[in-house]
Symmetry: C2
Subunit: 268 residues, 2 copies
């Protein structure tokens, strides 16, 4: 079992921020990333459609004999994680719980524990973050904002320009109005906007990036189940995409800061 | 034959700008609109994927016994129209040729005939507009710009705010630098940004909206083939969507300026 690869899927390219952290923390693991680039984005689509896609993605990764699946997409985690965990025998991890854990740590010492959540329309409307935060910390204050333009801004490569800043000011105005202690970046694309979000939110707000938290949780889970691979002379990094590889390769390079190879087209 | 409906498809909601014009000019026709909202957008996807989707869309409309198909999506028209026309027996119309015809009329009296084309990454990279403009008017000057953020801006309802204007200034800067006589709005969403584009481009540039041109060409083609319906006590307006109807209904209402009913979910 430990020699089988880890599967990671996302609606498209953004999940590479999670892939990057997992590759860093778990260098001995073989990693197979599936980006559903032919149907991206998920954030504006319905729970039923996103859940259907998530099931197809896991089935595709199972054909690669993965030992564990990481749902790197927040929208898919928010809508489909429970159903995926019920359906499949291998462990399936999402990004919502790790993000929540990070936020709770960040506000633990604060008196008012004011957490902001930003994400896609789907993630925010699902209430997944709010539900989990309240369950684990009943007195917590939560403010949410859907930010539909952030994903296309990131995909366009406008991470730090004036337009990105103006858009961030509109989306964050209300949730920042009475102060925040932490802000959960509830979408895999958002860590790429960190500098802009830092500028708009100010230095006092902890920006919680669930990519690193998710990688840590993946590592703990592998340990707990005896699934961790301890050595690997040549770790595999393989990418599957449902659209043609060109765009994935181009934008992916910006995120991973290295050339992507071993990219294959799949139809699912 | 004339009693059969007209089929119109688009990647999502934007094609309603074409639907609206067809409904206006051809009030006696039954209209069936298919929005591929589960896989929207097409503009950032590859020619192969968009062509595959376009074929599936036409097949879905054929099940509704349509007499003619209008490809309201510019990206699908640019990538797939030729292949669709070869494959299917009923007439298939795109939006590129009508847009080109409109632009050529707009610059006919001008000395320099300088045409700008804006569209999705796919439409612009296909070169479909440039190819057709040069074929029909060899000496014409053409400048193109891909505007990936315009579609999400429209979908967000930010048609006339400061962000829309800043984005438009970035995308149009270069193609406006040496002056334009006409600007083809090469994406079904862009007519909704008309006020912003007018402000940025200035009064001297004719904005060519292919929706109206496409409706006129549809009417001519029906006449020429004896397919036009002359009377209809109760014209059908039916909408098929591949994602759930809620979002389509909400944003569609803004475009059609009336409540959308008779919306059905289909899986294709």
């Amino acid at each position: 079992m430990p020699h089988r690869p880890i599967g990671i899927f996302d609606s498209g390219i953004g999940g590479l921020t999670v892939f990057r952290e997992i590759a860093k923390i778990l260098p001995n693991e073989d990693l197979i990333y599936l980006g559903d680039t032919a149907r991206v984005p998920y954030g504006t689509k319905s729970a039923a459609t996103v859940t259907r896609y998530a099931f197809q993605n896991v089935r595709c990764l199972l054909q690669e004999d993965v030992k564990l699946v990481v749902v790197a997409c927040n929208t898919a985690s928010a809508f489909a994680l429970d159903a995926l965990q019920k359906e499949f025998r291998i462990p399936v991890l999402g990004v919502v719980e790790p993000g929540v854990a990070g936020a709770l740590r960040a506000v633990a010492a604060k008196q008012r524990r004011r957490v902001g959540v930003i994400g896609t329309e789907g993630t925010i409307s699902s209430g997944a973050y709010a539900k989990s935060l309240i369950e684990k910390s009943p007195g917590i204050s939560i403010k949410s904002s859907a930010c539909p333009l952030f994903v296309p801004l990131v995909e366009e490569g406008w991470w730090e320009n004036d337009v990105a800043e103006s858009v961030a000011r509109v989306y964050l105005r209300e949730i920042l109005a009475e102060g925040l202690d932490a802000l959960i970046l509830g979408c895999t694309h958002y860590p790429l906007l960190k500098k802009t979000l830092r500028k708009v939110a100010g230095e006092g707000v902890v920006l919680v990036d669930s990519a690193e938290e998710t990688a840590l949780e993946t590592s703990s889970l592998l340990d707990a189940r005896g699934l961790k691979r301890e050595s690997n002379p040549k770790p595999v990094r393989k990418f599957l995409v449902t659209d043609s590889p060109e765009r994935f390769q181009r934008v992916g390079k910006l995120i991973l800061e290295s050339e992507l190879t071993n990219i294959h087209h799949v139809e699912i």
